[in-house]
Subunit: 460 residues, 2 copies
Amino acid sequence: MADTLFDQDDQEEDFALDRSLVDEVRLALATADKARLEEIFEPLHAADLADMLEQVDQRERREILLLARDVFDGEILSELDESLREEAIEFLPDDVVSEAVRELETDDVVDLVEDLDEPQQEAILDALEDADRVAVEQALAWPEESAGRLMQREIVAAPEHWNVGQTIDFLRNQDELPEQFYHVIMVDPRLKPTGYVTLGKLLGAAREIPLTELCEDTFRPIRVTQPEEDVAYAFNQYHLISAPVVDEDDRLVGVITIDDAMVVLDEEHEEDILRLAGVGEATSLSDRVIETTKTRFPWLFVNLITAILASLVIAQFEATIAQFVALAVLMPIVASMGGNAGTQALTVAVRALATKDLTSSNLWRVIKRETLVGLANGLAFALIMGVVGWIWFGQPMLGAVLAIAMVVNLVIAGLAGILVPVSLEKLGVDPALASGAFVTTVTDVVGFFAFLGLAGWMLL
Amino acid sequence: MADTLFDQDDQEEDFALDRSLVDEVRLALATADKARLEEIFEPLHAADLADMLEQVDQRERREILLLARDVFDGEILSELDESLREEAIEFLPDDVVSEAVRELETDDVVDLVEDLDEPQQEAILDALEDADRVAVEQALAWPEESAGRLMQREIVAAPEHWNVGQTIDFLRNQDELPEQFYHVIMVDPRLKPTGYVTLGKLLGAAREIPLTELCEDTFRPIRVTQPEEDVAYAFNQYHLISAPVVDEDDRLVGVITIDDAMVVLDEEHEEDILRLAGVGEATSLSDRVIETTKTRFPWLFVNLITAILASLVIAQFEATIAQFVALAVLMPIVASMGGNAGTQALTVAVRALATKDLTSSNLWRVIKRETLVGLANGLAFALIMGVVGWIWFGQPMLGAVLAIAMVVNLVIAGLAGILVPVSLEKLGVDPALASGAFVTTVTDVVGFFAFLGLAGWMLL
């Protein structure tokens, strides 16, 4: 059945790892065929090889690491999911890890070691050459998830008074240029960046043209302490390709390129999606049941508390329900509709906060909109449910109660859906993380209270 | 209150639009001060100006468009939200729009016109110069959301046998190079791309070195019909900066750069988040209540159907509830916990499908994991709720019923959370869009059935 769930033939086209490769790897493992394994791995990009290691189970992963140790390099280590990376570093012999890490650029080493335990981190830092170790340690001195951690320290800069020819000659005389660079950054004598020139412009211009004439106008230096989230936002907002990073004295200390910003953007999105669903942290698809259980337990526990709160509301109306059991049948509908309408509103609000589109300038307008949308959908569903309740139980008054409760709860859902995330953001709490619990508490409590309260008053 | 919800001073630092600017714009509008308005807009990036237009309401937006027509250019039009873009194009005089569009690169024009109505599209195409119009029309001939729509047609290519000096001389003799290019693509005589050289390498190498020596090994041509979603995935997976696009005969027809891929990645994420929350399409924060209501209604309607299904289950147990009203108090807890556990599992699965990490190779392992995680959390909450139910209502058997129902529903939630999205993907339906409705139906029905059924059997 698993085989038929995914089409074989649309795999290669969409860049996904060809799943027949995993079968071939398993075959090679079964016969401990080292040569075949290396033959399979050889043409793969490090990212695909890392995906492969994430696809198989722990036992197979260890067999692969043992057999194909020679293909294993720092890049694969970089590409691995965090949890598997720790596992691999623990499992591999120290000299293999050291060898692998020495090949990496320092910003990749930072990315690799920053989440490791102290002893693992020490071991890797010790394996580096002195200059690289110092560079990595300097990067680690910046706050977590800041531009300082993200940037590469290899910079291509030129004095602002140079012309194209001088710059090209300078580049050609460098022993080693960074793997990734797309601009030459112009600096003043105090190392303050004053502009930048794209390599395309540099290549297309005559030698005697001064750099200042080719300078881009979208120049935006990034402060080294800036959160990486804001860096990703700036790249996305201003279509930056690379941006200089400056310290508190405005001196150039590094460069961030768009590929790093794209990784951050991807991670931030992943975090938002998972947090909105109450999944604490990204876990890999690896087979650790206990860890996955632990990341999911807290949100379920919060949900239990809010569900008990809602039950306490219902308990106030036990007498009403005992007289009229139809209420027990219909009450989950009101709560469920409120919960869903609230989730819609809060998700839109959380996204708008993340993209900095929801601000105090338009907050009142958005609140007004959410209230009106709640009212409009509330009236639509009041009509539908009023008729359904009436026909189902043959009581027009039951339909009326259902209808009024629906309007009340959908308006409250819209209001809570905008006010809760905005208030959490204001308090410095990530609205993606906590809004869901608050909003569903509100809609459950209001839903049950409105429906059962009205029923007690209008029906009995 | 709105003013105190956002801190003034952390605005500039995180690249968000300085909100005092919106106040200044409103002031300028109040006095119809055209000069002041232009003074405010002049230093702003087009993306920020577009944000500004999204922040104010429709009446203010029109006033701005009337007063500051001269600052309005094609780039701002590109940056605007889709719905506001249509509004602006409708409102602005034709000659202003034509003028604005003529400034844009053809790939931006494609992006601008592809979602417009036929007459608006025609009007804009007519305003273009012939060569540009043909280019845009050719791009529009490719399927929507394909690489062909995304690519720029301006290509910098060189015969594969050239050396560095020949290439640089060629670039320097071009009248106009594309605004954005980071690689020189090497092509064979039949225009098939065979590799590429980064501009950095080109600048750092001596003139006599052949291009073949500087060639990158991460070369991955993209097919022109490839969905843009897969293009974004490839850029993210392989850390590409730009990639050549080829037609069915493997001939080079365009180039996609990472900034375009980043926009797609951002849109895909936005779509996933909103779809998971049952918000049909991205709506802007603009004040159109009716449109927003329409995008949210369908999911609420689906939810109503599933809620009624759950109610039908409860209705089967009316007699049981009538005898024992505590059941009505506690039953929403079981359903709510199941719904949340299901949402957790399905969100993780939807993400893993989007990142191509969940495949037939590891599906069984993930199913096993989700079942065990459901069991583990089910047992934990069974213990908690068993005790709560017992103490609250003084009946150990009620606690036992609650506990068993909790385990059953959390296991089912885990299973549904993985099987529903995987099956939908297999059927070609976006799992982000439809999983939620199916999974909560399952957990509601199973939750109510298990709890009330067990109660009828064990308590009465």
